[in-house]
Every structure is written in C-alpha cells, then in structure tokens.
Amino acid sequence: MQQWYPDFFDRFGTLTVFDLLEDYLASGRIKVDKTAHPQRALYHDPCNYGRKSRELFGRGYFDQPRRVMDQCLAEWTDSQPSRGNQYCCGGGGGTLLTPFKAPRIHYGRRKIDQIKQARAELVVVPCHSCHGQIKALLAAYEVKGVEVKYLWEVVADALIVES
C-alpha cells in the first residue's frame, strides 16, 4: 500500500482487527464477560502480525491482542518463546495451499510441544492460516481436547448482548 498508493493513508483511515477490537472494548461499544471462557487458553502470535510486522512496519502487534485476551478469558498464558521469537505454526507463507503436507506437519511439532507444555485447552489465534494449521496439527498429532478459536471469535462468544 505504502509502495503503490503513498497518499492512501492521508485520504482514508485504516484499522487493524486489533485496533477495532480494542476501540470497541475501550469505548464501551461492546461489553464482554470473562466467564464465557473458563478454559486454560494459550495465545499464539502469528508471524505476520508480530515479528514481520515489526520488521517491515516498525510495529509488532504483541500487546493489543493480549489486552483483549485479558478481558475475554478467565485464564490464559503465553507460549515460550513468544512474541518476536515465536515459533510459526508451520502454515505460513502459503504452505497451506501447497501439497507439501508432511513437512508442514513436521514443522508444527514445535507448536504442538508448546501447546502441550502450556496444558492448554484453547488456542487463540488472530490469523486464518494459523487457525487452519493448528487444527490440522492437533489432528495429525492426535491431541485431544484442545479447541482453536479466532481472537474475534473469542470476543464474539464473550459478548454481553442486551436484547
């Protein structure tokens, strides 16, 4: 965008999913209930929002999703390592669209180790590729009883709807 439409940012506002969620929560436009998620959750930093965003745009989305997590989940934890040195789920770079499933699943062993180490029952991700890959990993490594949700799905499920 910066490269091809340098004036775009002057003419229009841009909001990331994190900006939107934080804004809705902070302004009180939406209200959430932590008790909707009693499970022990693990947050996964997608490469594109974290490490690579920081490298390319000088800003990594590390803290915003964590602040959202704090409001929507009773108990959640970070993986080790996390943030900038996070392990990719193995589904990045379009690998989900290639036929090379075996290496992709092999790659994901680190993520499975982290999920097991954290004794997580719920993995929260803000990325479609990660969502798909982690579900595939859980199936491939036969890890039972772990749910995978989008960050906004967690918010949607924790919404307090006044009808």
Binding site: F12, R29, I30, E55
Partner: protein, 235 residues
C-alpha cells in the same frame, strides 16, 4: 560440485530486497543461527543456511527447480536472530517469483490467476457470493439477540470496508458471523463489496508483486468510489 562462481545477469542475491537489515547476503557468516532456529531444517533437505549459500554462489537454478522455496513458511524466525540481518525471507520470496507460473505448486498461483480474473481467489461469481453471504446473515438474524442483522453490500459513505478471507466464503461459513456479531453489538456502519471482496493476497506467497498491486488497487478503488472512511485491514 561447487566451483568458482558463474556469471549471471540478474542474480537473486542482488534482486532480493534487502530487508530487514539492509545488509547484502554476502555478509553471511555461515554461522548456522538461521538453520538452528528453523524447525524445518533437515526436512527434505531444507536448510536456510544452504539456501543463502547457494544463492551467493548464484546456483539459484538448483533452488528454483526444487520444492525448497515452497517448504519455507516465510515466518522470519531465521532472520529474527541472524546476527548479520540478512534478508533470508526475501531471498526465498524472490526465488518463488523466479519459478515459472505453471510450476508454482498447489493452489497458490491458481488462486492468484482466478483473483486477477474474477476478484476472488475462488473464482466465485458475484451472484453466488451474494447468495452465500445473505444466507449466512439471515441465519444470524434468526437468532434472537441479532434479530435485525443485515449485510449492506457496496454501501456508499459507510464507515468501514470489510473484506473477506475466501476460506470463510468457501468452506467455513460458520466463522463469518464472529465479526458480524461484534459489528452488530457495536453498531458499526460497515459494508462488504459485492465484487473484488477478496481479503487475501496470495501474490505475497507466490512472489508475484504485480498481482499484489492489482489486489491493493481494487481495494483503493472501492474506498474511492464508495467514499468509505476507514479500511479494516484484511485479517
């Protein structure tokens, strides 16, 4: 067998953008940091250090002809610790871009090609898209809390432009509603384009900069024509 390096007009080692470190790949120490940090090292001959070394020797054809560039997830963990700040991810992406388009494995290039023609990676016609979205929205509206929920397509002067990941439109319709629920409760004035709604840019994966430019251009066009105030970055 390695020999003295050949002569090459446009070698990958100079063509790959020098990000993040603004360092030439020649700076490589061959220290092994990248390979030690990559979970894929050793799998099917994958080794980021070897990739950099072969690129430096201008033996990129060996890489282009192999599956190796497509095994990489472009996650950047190697670069994160590289003491020389070498552009390993961009080297791999540039290698991918040198692969003949008909040799790009899996759905990536097919998606890019379809998107160029139809405005989405699935090649879904606008009527079908509208039908699916309206159907899911009606289902949501059937729930008591979201009774008056509706999708506004191509709404002029909306506050927010919402693009969609093709997989939600394709096989995972049930995941479309999370954002809609949030928008509904928040009272967000959002719109979805009827055409060129694709929120995912597979040109990023295939090393196809031109396709990326096209997709970005379509979003800009929506924003301009509908006079929308804010763009929600694709997820």
């Amino acid at each position: 067998m390695a020999t003295n390096p050949p002569v090459n007009e446009d070698p990958v080692k100079t063509a790959a953008p020098r990000r993040p470190g603004n360092q030439a790949p020649e700076m490589c120490l061959a220290c092994g940091t990248c390979a030690a940090g990559c979970p894929l090292t050793g799998q099917d001959g994958f080794d980021p250090r070897k990739i950099v070394r072969l690129v430096l020797l201008e033996r990129e054809q060996e890489l282009i002809a192999s599956d190796l560039p497509w095994l990489c997830t472009l996650c950047g963990k190697c670069e994160y610790a590289c003491p020389m700040g070498i552009n390993i991810v961009n080297i791999v992406r540039t290698l991918r871009g040198r692969v003949a388009r008909d040799k790009v494995p899996g759905m990536i290039h097919k998606g890019v090609a379809l998107c160029r023609q139809t405005g989405n990676n699935l090649g879904l016609p606008a009527e079908d898209f509208e039908f699916i979205i309206t159907d899911v929205a009606e289902e949501l509206a059937a729930e008591e809390e979201f009774a008056d929920f509706k999708i506004a397509f191509d709404k002029p002067e909306a506050n927010l432009l919402h693009t969609l990941h093709n997989k939600l439109v394709n096989t995972q319709n049930e995941d479309l509603v999370h954002w809609w629920k949030i928008f509904h409760v928040a009272g967000e004035d959002f719109t979805i384009p009827r055409e060129n709604w694709e929120g995912v840019n597979w040109g990023l994966f295939s090393g196809d900069d031109e396709a990326m430019q096209l997709s970005v251009g379509r979003i800009v066009t929506h924003m301009e024509q509908l006079e929308i105030q804010n763009l929600m970055y694709p997820e």
